[in-house]
């Protein structure tokens, strides 16, 4: 070999060495490489960014001239910006992002957006969390959520929500943005135990009125259930069975037994199908109840859903069907009945409540030549509940329907809902969204004037997202609504967002919200010997002003990466609807816009991951307004109630097993009430619903790819009823305690997953 040749080889080698240096990205704290990292590289001597993606070994080759700047981006890892000065082999660790932060959300967004970039403060509960808790209904999934309280109706086992101290009538529950119709409302006032989470990918929660986007009854906030629509594998089959005790009661005819089936399949690159079904059979909790009776009544639910989806490069379209059926049985106590013959044939008055809901949704979204994104939906929902009351002769077994007013009652809630949005991104700093919404509601029932009433609502809205300067976003919005019951509403809102840095954002929000008077409040009719209650068709909507400020930041303490969130809020509701005397007919009572209500509070929460541990800790402090303080002097205007919430997960090395704890302390809720003391004087006392600790714990384990098991306990502190000292024993008080649960229960869930790529 001559020297010339050697020189060339050497030059080539050096050149290669100089211009093609490799960089490998690994997970921080391990040797695991990360494929698919998008890396932008710019040599300091150049102006252009060059993009590359790491290969299966997490490696890429850099041919740009050193020194250079790299910027990574990957959905699951924190962005890294670094300058590489020297020419050598690099192994660069990337920090896994805490999943929720970069989770993509849609509620209130112009287009799907990461939580970090959202102008609204959006919280998300993802399907892993739902699964790891063994949650089947929204009620179970929200049991340890901060700022949320659930209240239970013992007879029907229904659970209603309050959010930021505001009752369920003002919390709107949506499925893919469409109100979920229930017995008492179009989205609001829902019984959370009737909301099944099968095929729910994520629950998005936005506190504060979302009236501009979602209209009425979202005064406290919205819960948007995002259904599963994207399928990783060609075919996925899932079978699961879950069995639970009800307190200490368990058996084939006791406790709770759940079976689910799910199948989704991609027919081709454009069409996919999904069908799912679930049977959720709660056989009641007898507890200390008398023979035949239950402290918590048996409740059997069937639910099913189906999806047909089409998508191409620019558009997607789907039809979704949700069906639900629930049967609650309330068995009465035995009463004697002596026949003329002298024979005693005891009987019992039993009740059943059969609820059915069918909802059909057609949704489309995508791009048009003149719109950056559009979405549109049509939905028809049909909810009905048949109440039956019958007398059962326990000797002969003969059942007869009872004849009292309201004993047999069919309540119905039918809604056609239409909506659509268009989004236009005009340049870098301005985006605009406009939309419309039409709700046609028909509500029926025995205690509704003329047995059936209809309400129509038409709304149009628009919002801007404008970045006047870098890092700063302002989003003004306005909605105009016309409602057949109460006329026009103009609802403004404005949100501000400032990005101090990539890791720290500040948000401020003002929004007006409103709650439409319910059909019941407008058209109720109930007369018996002691009650004469009529709806008031002249009611105005309840209106609120909501203010909140929020700071979110990712920071590091002793190498521990923490995500913190501080939120302050204030809600002021005027024209709140309450019961009052009808001035036109003093012998009757009616619904009037008479009350005022306010809540204010602060929430501070943090999330962190240390090795195999991940956890969150949150604290909130909510003040609820004392109405009585308006008329009585020297009474505090608010009573504050603390909440503490923590979720902790430990994942064993190998990732097959994890242990999860879900804890919440729901502090006491105080209120003033008037009572008569021993000197027979009227005094104002402080009553309280006691605080309690709630904890669920589960162990999940994967047996290979296909089998999963969850073993868990709900309500570890065995809370059944909590004391309520604020009741003075009026004609309709339900006693001095509030039901929470039937006690500590255990669950086992087995699931089988079969996937075909």
């Amino acid at each position: 070999m001559n020297r010339w040749a050697l020189g060339v080889i050497l030059w080539l080698w050096m050149g290669l060495h100089a211009y093609s240096q490799s960089v490998t990205f690994v997970v921080e704290g391990s040797e695991e490489s990360i494929p698919g990292v998008v890396v932008k590289v710019r040599s300091l001597s150049a102006d252009e960014w060059v993009g590359q993606v790491t290969n299966d070994q997490g490696r890429l080759v850099i041919s740009e001239e050193f020194p250079l700047v790299i910027e990574t981006s990957h959905l699951s890892y924190e962005t890294l910006i670094d300058t590489l000065f020297t020419r050598k082999e690099y192994r660069i660790p990337l920090v896994p992002s805490i999943n929720q932060l970069d989770e993509v959300v849609v509620t209130g967004q112009f287009s799907p957006q990461s939580i970090r970039n959202s102008v609204f403060r959006v919280q998300a509960i993802n399907s892993e969390e739902i699964q790891s808790r063994g949650s089947n209904t929204l009620q179970e999934a929200l049991a340890s959520q901060l700022n949320i309280r659930l209240s239970q109706d013992l007879a029907l086992g229904s659970a209603t929500i309050s959010l930021q101290g505001i009752s369920s009538q003002n919390v709107k529950i949506l499925v893919d943005g469409v109100p979920l119709v229930n017995r008492v409302g179009n989205g609001n006032g829902a019984d959370l135990s009737q909301i099944n989470l099968q095929n729910i990918e994520r629950i998005e929660l936005v506190e504060g009125p979302m009236a501009v986007n979602y209209g009425a009854n979202a005064l406290a906030g919205v819960l948007n259930l995002i259904t599963k629509k994207d399928f990783i594998n060609k075919t996925e089959v899932q079978l699961s069975a879950q069995t639970e005790s009800a307190g200490s009661e368990y058996g084939l005819d006791r406790g709770r037994h759940i079976q689910s089936f799910n199948l989704n399949h991609r027919l081709n690159s454009q069409w996919s199908l999904l069908v799912g079904a679930q049977h959720n059979d709660f056989l009641g909790y007898q507890g200390g109840a008398a023979l035949r009776q239950h402290e918590w009544n048996p409740k059997e639910q069937w639910s099913g859903n189906a999806l047909i989806k089409f998508e191409d490069q620019t558009n997607s379209f789907h039809y979704r069907l949700d069906a639900f059926d629930e049967l609650i049985q309330d068995f009465g106590t035995l009463q004697n009945n002596f026949l003329p013959s002298g024979e005693n044939q005891p009987f019992a008055i039993d009740e059943t409540y059969d609820s059915k809901r069918m909802s059909h949704q057609i949704q489309a979204e995508g791009k048009l030549s003149f719109l950056d994104r559009y979405s549109a939906f049509v939905s028809y929902s049909d909810f009905e509940r048949q109440k039956r009351r019958f007398s059962k002769n326990v000797v002969t077994g003969i059942e007869n329907l009872t004849t009292g007013a309201g004993d047999q009652d069919l309540s119905t809630y039918r809604v056609w809902e239409f909506g659509g949005t268009g989004y236009l991104n005009s340049g870098e700093s301005l985006a605009i969204q406009t939309g419309y919404q039409i709700s046609l509601e028909t509500v029926g029932g025995g205690r509704i004037l003329d047995e059936e009433q209809s309400i129509q609502e038409y709304g149009i809205y628009g919002a801007l997202e404008w970045n006047p300067v870098e890092k700063f976003t302002i989003r003004p919005g306005v909605r105009y609504t016309n409602n057949s019951a109460f006329g026009d509403q103009l609802i403004p809102s404005v949100q501000l967002k400032y990005n101090l840095s990539r890791s720290t954002q500040f948000r401020a929000s003002y929004g007006k919200g409103f709650r439409s008077p319910s059909v019941r409040e407008l058209y109720f009719e109930f007369v018996d010997s002691n009650h004469r209650i009529f709806g008031n068709p002249d009611l105005l909507p309840e209106k609120s002003n909501h203010f909140s400020v929020n700071a979110r930041s990712d920071y590091t303490i002793n190498g521990l990466r923490i995500q913190g969130d501080l939120n302050l809020f204030f809600n002021d509701i005027e024209n709140q609807i309450g019961i009052g005397q009808n001035i036109n007919d003093v012998t009757s009572t009616t619904y009037l816009n008479i009350s005022r209500f306010k809540t204010l509070g602060a929430t501070f929460s943090q999330k962190a991951t240390i090795g195999n541990w991940s956890g969150s800790l949150g604290f909130s402090y909510i003040g609820r307004f004392n109405r009585i303080s308006e008329t009585e002097e020297n009474l505090s205007q608010f009573f504050y109630s603390p909440e503490l919430s923590s979720n902790i997960t430990y994942t064993f090395p190998g990732k097959a097993t994890s242990v999860n704890f879900f804890y919440k302390y729901a502090g006491r809720i105080q209120s003033y009430f008037t009572e008569i003391n021993t000197q027979n004087e009227e005094v104002i006392s402080i009553g309280e619903v006691a605080g309690y600790h709630w904890m669920d714990a589960t162990i999940t384990h994967s047996f290979g790819e296909r089998f999963n098991a969850t073993l868990g306990a709900r309500n570890l502190f065995n809370i059944r009823r909590i004391n309520n000292s604020g009741l003075s024993g009026g004609a309709h008080s339900g006693g001095p305690s509030v039901p929470v649960s039937y006690g500590r229960s255990y669950l086992l869930k087995l699931s089988y997953n079969l996937n075909f790529k």
């Binding site: 009463q335 008055i349 002769n393 004609a731």
Partner: protein, 362 residues
């Protein structure tokens, strides 16, 4: 031995037969009923009837509760009661001449002197008149010194005019308004009454018939028969306008269904709680001494039943953990339990049933 027994037996029959027909001149006294099962004819959901029960004869007397307006006491005092079962109310007018009272004197009464209006007033700022409402009804204890209409004075000119809201019919409709005035009349009463707008009035003389506690009057039909003779009933089923305390100083009239009034001062009632040792079936005369009896009219009241309330987990039905021991007007002791409150087929309220049994002193 057998012959001796047979002899005694025949002798006994002979004796009984002889004594039964020995004195035809004095009324024969039937032995008290040993017990029965009774379905009082309360009349269903709206409970249109007042039912008076006599245990010793197993009889029930059913009267429409809207069949009367006023009861005139037959004892020494001169007292007038309102039809509590219809929630009738009365309020004095500062006048002693019935003709002088016109509609102008009753302005505002419709929104006050009305059981539903009083209840409705709870749902607003409490009006100044609300504490007075309790005085527009007779005291629910049955204490005749606390009637809505003042004692009828011997001096006629001391007796004021009263506006009467005649209360409600069982179907909920209003029975209307009247103005009345009562004066004494040779040991009895004279009732003056007219429609509020009328410029003349009618009069009705009422003699005290001491076989009864009250002489009952219907303002449309004159004297009517309601309760049986004073010693011929032990308790009654009725709708009852009670007083419901709403704050320290205010009670309002409020109608209870399924109320039981006992014949006060003539009938004693003890409530017995069922335990593992004490049951209705095994309760015997010997246990009476340990009971505490009450002679109050409301000794049973509404305490024998429960009514379903939202969230209470309670059902509308009888309280099955208690029974009663009743000493009736003939001083017989009965144990009595209510078996049901609603009809066994239709589930309709106002269809009670009770079972009772004589406790023999052996």
């Amino acid at each position: 031995m057998i012959q001796k027994r047979l002899f005694f037996f025949l002798a006994l029959i002979g004796f009984v037969g002889f004594s039964a027909c020995s004195d035809d001149d004095t009324p024969s006294v039937d032995p008290p009923a040993t017990g029965s099962i009774v379905d009082p004819n309360v009349g269903g959901e709206n409970q249109p009837n007042q039912v008076f029960v006599d245990l010793s004869t197993t009889t029930q007397t059913s009267v429409s509760r809207n069949s009367w307006d006023l009861g005139f006491y037959t004892g020494t005092e001169f007292r007038v009661i309102l039809n509590n079962s219809a929630s009738a109310l009365a309020r004095a007018i500062d006048a002693t001449d019935l003709d002088a009272v016109t509609a102008a004197d009753t302005v505002g009464f419709a929104s006050q002197l009305d059981i539903d209006a009083i209840f409705g007033a709870l749902f607003g700022p409490p009006p100044a008149w609300l504490p007075e409402a309790a005085s527009w009804t007779d005291d629910p204890s049955g204490d005749l010194t606390k009637t809505a209409i003042a004692e009828v004075n011997a001096t006629a000119s001391n007796n004021q005019v009263y506006i009467i809201n005649r209360g409600k019919n069982p179907d909920g409709t209003q029975r209307g308004w009247m103005k009345i005035r009562v004066i004494q009349n040779s040991g009895g009463y004279t009732l003056q009454y007219a429609s509020i707008g009328a410029s003349t009035f009618s009069e009705l003389d009422i003699t005290k018939n001491t076989d009864f506690d009250f002489v009952f009057v219907n303002l449309d039909n004159g004297m009517v028969s309601v309760a049986p003779e004073a010693d011929d009933w032990d308790f009654s089923f009725t709708v009852f306008t009670n007083l419901l305390q709403v704050d320290a100083t205010t009670s309002i009239p409020y109608a209870f269904k399924d109320f039981i009034l006992t014949n006060a001062n003539r009938v004693d009632v003890a409530t017995v709680e069922i335990t593992s040792d004490i049951t209705y079936e095994n309760f015997a005369f010997g246990s009476i001494a340990s009971l505490e009896f009450s002679n109050s009219a409301t000794a049973i009241g509404s305490g024998w039943r429960t009514v379903a309330q939202p969230g209470s987990g309670q059902e509308t039905g009888v309280k099955d953990d208690i029974f009663y021991v009743i000493k009736d007007t003939g001083d017989n002791y009965y144990k009595l339990r209510f078996t049901r409150l609603v009809d066994a087929t239709s589930g309709e309220r106002g269809n009670p049933q009770f079972q009772y049994e004589l406790l023999n002193n052996e």
